[in-house]
Symmetry: none
Subunit: 101 residues, 2 copies
DNA sequence: TCGACATGTAACTAATAGGTTACATATAAA
DNA sequence: TTTATATGTAACCTATTAGTTACATGTCGA
């Protein structure tokens, strides 16, 4: 839904709904959630409600969770990398024989 | 929940649950959702399951929705993500039943 | 003014989420 | 070996969501 709204800024509710197999009302319910999260903002243009993608909340979440990004991120990637390597090690061990731990 | 896990990398499930008014099982249900989204990754340490915050999905969403994806970064993150997912998948499989592949 | 178009609201049903308690299993400590 | 600790699973109940159809309201075009 966000893909479509981003690709076609100003698209109407009905036009957006036509891209899905569910009813227009179902799409409107999803829209309400996305508007509540400020990911989509709208403005009335006659009888059409025009929809626009809003990246601000994603930017805010990114800023919040990646503050001190370089240092933290490097550490996190390293940790995940080690977890993955440990998994591969264990995988080799299990294939060799029945698990013994 | 993410705040706590980020502040205390390696925290156990029970310790995390003690910060909330709901039961440990309720917290575990939320954890399952966060792990499914790869926002939290875990590793077993004896009888304790240690939890770690993973900013990668947020970075990926940010990259997707706010800038063009850099080929290098996408490849790097995706590779590590798949490794972590594979580890989690195996972890689930081991705990779910005695799968012997 | 009337018909067409676009959207909004209400009421309903089915499915899912959220939380609980009880019990089981694995691991560490005594 | 036994007890304690940490976690996982199952079954249950309640609240909320997801989707539907029908109808209402607002705006534009003829």
């Amino acid at each position: 839904m966000l893909d479509i709204v981003k690709e076609e800024p100003g698209i109407g509710v009905g036009a957006l709904a036509s891209s899905f197999d569910v009813s227009r009302i179902a799409v409107m319910k999803h829209l309400t959630v996305l508007e509540g999260a400020n990911l989509i903002v709208s403005e009335k243009d006659g009888r059409t409600r025009r929809l626009y993608f809003n990246a601000a909340p994603i930017q805010m979440i990114h800023d919040r969770w990646t503050t001190d990004y370089s240092a933290y991120w490097a550490g996190q990637l390293t940790r995940i990398k080690y977890l993955a390597e440990a998994r591969e090690e264990q995988n080799k061990t299990k294939k060799g024989k029945s698990k013994n731990d």
